[in-house]
């Protein structure tokens, strides 16, 4: 057992898949940052709002205001450096830190695929994507055509974890038995050409796509790992992600997943692409001394990455510690590859009760939140709590010393009739954020 493990750790494989991965990853990150910038979202999401929702444990994150642009610039430049393989190690560390910092600035725009980028870029710190076909080769005058097998395998493992957990999350009664939320979403795509007014309206299509999506997520890793089915698997990856791109506003995520899946192909395929790139770019790589073994600190990396993967395997399971419907209370919902699982919409207002004179009033959320913040706050308990505390601070600063904050909250999950979400008799100022069960969330009725 130990010897096979040792053997595995010391086994080597061609580095060319990492080259393609590096170029693809770098370019995509570079262009998605430019895209985000060009849409004016930096201003809209990070600069304009006076209040930001933060992650539990990361409330200390400093808002940067106008300087957020500089952070994006740093992030974009590091992505470009990664693409060309210039000062790779330091570039990927800077990319990981700057990208993660950006994500920590505002919880409102949490998306699984942004989290995926954070996780992946952390992993890539330990993987020598600059082994060959990189500027670093020219600078250091050596390159490695072989890299430890585990480097490529760990990227594959991460992708498999994402797909498998995404698939497992789809095994729930709403998704499989009711075809929800697809049954709600797809008919609203009536304006798509050809399929909009036909297939998108069919009940059996909603079921087929729900079941298909679940089977797809669970089987893709095996289709890609198995050499015989790899081409078909890759075709399915392309088809599935392009299709979801057409249906839903999920940005660049589909392309990132398609690009990432290329890591599963043999080095021969990658060699051909690199050759083509060499011909097009006319970059001449002199015959540098070929170092067979990459010089990275194997042992240290392996320990860190083992811990990393243990965390990746356990974090998505933490929801098991909470009872009730996960999609309703969302405790342990994030960071666990639960994608497109629910149509949730809410409406939450807050009552400020002045204990000194018994008077109360309702807060106009538009005064404090942007419309997107409001939309997210409306149905997520941790947002509701954080905002209630913000309101408490705000009105205490205004001289109302002795106040209580109550939420009047209604939420609809996957087309169920809206029902009360937060216990209206609980003063939220007396509650604090923690991993403990939030007993002020009312249970979902009629389950």
């Amino acid at each position: 057992m130990m010897s096979t493990l040792k053997k595995y750790i010391n086994s080597y494989t061609d580095s060319s898949p990492l080259v393609i991965f590096r170029i693809g990853f770098g370019l995509m990150m570079f262009f998605s940052i430019l895209r985000f910038w060009s849409k004016g979202w930096i201003d809209k999401i990070y600069v304009k709002p006076s209040f930001h929702f933060t992650y539990y444990g990361f409330e200390w994150i400093e808002q940067l205001g106008e300087y957020t642009y500089i952070l994006f610039l740093i992030c974009a430049i590091s992505a470009f450096f990664i693409t060309i393989g210039l000062k790779y190690r330091i570039s990927i560390i800077i990319f990981f830190l700057s990208f993660t910092y950006i994500e920590l600035l505002e919880k409102t725009i949490y998306l699984n695929h942004y989290y995926f980028i954070c996780v992946l870029s952390f992993l890539l710190i330990f993987i020598p994507l600059n082994s060959s076909f990189s500027i670093d080769n020219i600078l250091s005058k050596h390159r490695s055509t072989k890299v430890p097998r585990w480097t490529i395998d760990s990227i594959k493992l991460l992708l498999c974890i994402v797909y498998i957990y995404a698939g497992l999350a789809k095994i729930n009664s709403d998704w499989l038995l009711e075809a929800l939320p697809l049954k709600i979403w797809l008919p609203s795509k009536y304006d798509l050409p050809i399929i909009g007014d036909t297939l998108m309206q069919k009940n059996w299509v909603h079921y087929a796509m729900s079941w298909g999506g679940m089977i797809y997520d669970l089987s893709i890793p095996f289709l890609l790992i198995n050499k015989k089915t790899r081409n078909f698997g890759f075709f399915m990856v392309v088809f599935f992600h392009v299709f979801t791109r057409i249906l839903f506003p999920i940005g660049v995520f589909p392309y990132i997943m398609i690009m990432s899946a290329t890591i599963f192909f043999d080095s021969k395929v990658h060699d051909r692409i690199i050759l083509a790139l060499k011909n097009v770019s006319k970059i001449k790589f002199k015959d540098y001394k070929i170092k067979d073994r990459n010089s990275l600190n194997n042992k240290f990396s392996i320990i860190i990455l083992s811990l990393f993967f243990i965390l990746q395997l356990t974090i998505p399971l933490r929801n098991l510690a909470y009872s009730g419907n996960l999609m309703w209370h969302e405790q342990g919902y994030r960071f666990s590859w639960r994608v497109m699982l629910m149509e949730k919409i809410g409406y939450t207002t807050f009552k400020i009760l002045n204990k000194d004179n018994g008077q109360s009033f309702i807060v106009d959320n538009d005064e404090f939140l942007t419309s997107y913040q409001k939309k997210q706050m409306n149905f997520q308990p941790d947002f509701i709590l954080e905002y209630a505390h913000y309101l408490g601070r705000h009105f205490k600063n205004k001289g109302l010393k002795n106040i209580e904050v109550y939420a009047d909250s209604y939420v609809s999950l996957n087309g169920r009739k809206s029902q009360r979400f937060i216990n209206p008799n609980i003063n939220l100022l007396a509650e604090t954020e923690s991993f403990a069960n939030k007993n002020w969330i009312l249970p979902l009725k009629n389950e």
């Binding site: 009536y190 069919k202 999920i250 639960r338 497109m340 309702i362 106009d364 209604y410 009739k417």
Partner: protein, 369 residues
Amino acid sequence: MIKKIITIFSIAVLLYSCGSESGNNNNYDDGFNRSELLANLTDNIIIPSYNNFQQELINLEQSAINFTNNTDQDNLESLRSSWLDAYMAWQHIEMFDIAKAEEIDFRRKMNAYPCNTIRIDINISSENYDLNNSNHYSAQGFPALDYLLNGLTDPIILFSGNDGQNYINYLNSLVQYMLLNTNEIINEWNNNRDLFINSTENTASSSLNKLTNDFIFYYEKGFRANKIGIPAGVFSGSPLPENVEAYYHNLNNNTTSKNLALEAFVCIQKFFVGQYFDNSSEGTGISDYLNHLNAQEQGNNLSDLIISTFDEAELAITELDQDLMSQINTNNYDMLVTYDKIQAAVPLLKIDMLVYLSIDVDYIDADGD
């Protein structure tokens, strides 16, 4: 196992790619005619309401001219009554804050209350103001006219006194600006009517989505908050009776604020079910669209639920004191209860209805979590 999966996928791919009808023609076909809905709302509600409003404004303008030519009590009375007629007609169109109206900030120019009397007084004496400037929104429209016609202690003396010409000028410039903006909006409706009713795609900017969002926004803000909630002190802790709509007229007449609120509520209900402006018939409304989308909620039909919630709220308003200000001053509790009954429809509109309409209002990436 893998072979099976491949087979399933191949079939799925085949089905998707050929996009053929498989003869499974059940009632899940959307098949709803959104253009017909939009055409009904446009041709039988929005445009007739605007035309009616325009006519009332023309009457108001004529009354203002008469009052200018002959500043006496009779003409003042008829000017007041034209103003009130126009204000009632306004309740029919305030919710259509869309296209040109939205672009020129029509709603805020017409009905931002309470008005800013200090600014109005300054504008009258300086005669130097730009009604297009948002600082002057609360010094124009119906609330400012309310102050001029009903809020001044002795209007005849003021309008015919030393500064009389300044008062006359301000009155006429307000009325003409209201008419000018209204004409502009009506022109646009007439020119772009076809474009509007054919914009049936599901995007944040398509006609139906904008209309629906505006409708909800109006119910929540223009109606619920402005007419009832704010005066009752829902958002401030203590009541603000002077913030009722048509405050000055209400001081003399007592019933104005309540009548305006009831008129507005009737318009809300008519729009929801698609009833014609002239009440001659009922066409396709949002309620029909909801029914079509099979919005069954625990055995209750969502449209019916919304309609019955509206009915209860309307009844509550009706049962309030005829004078909202005295209601607030004597028994604000009933006012707050009424507010809650109006509020009860908000989750139904903002949550349940929007879920079924699946209106796409997202403006940044989302993966549905």
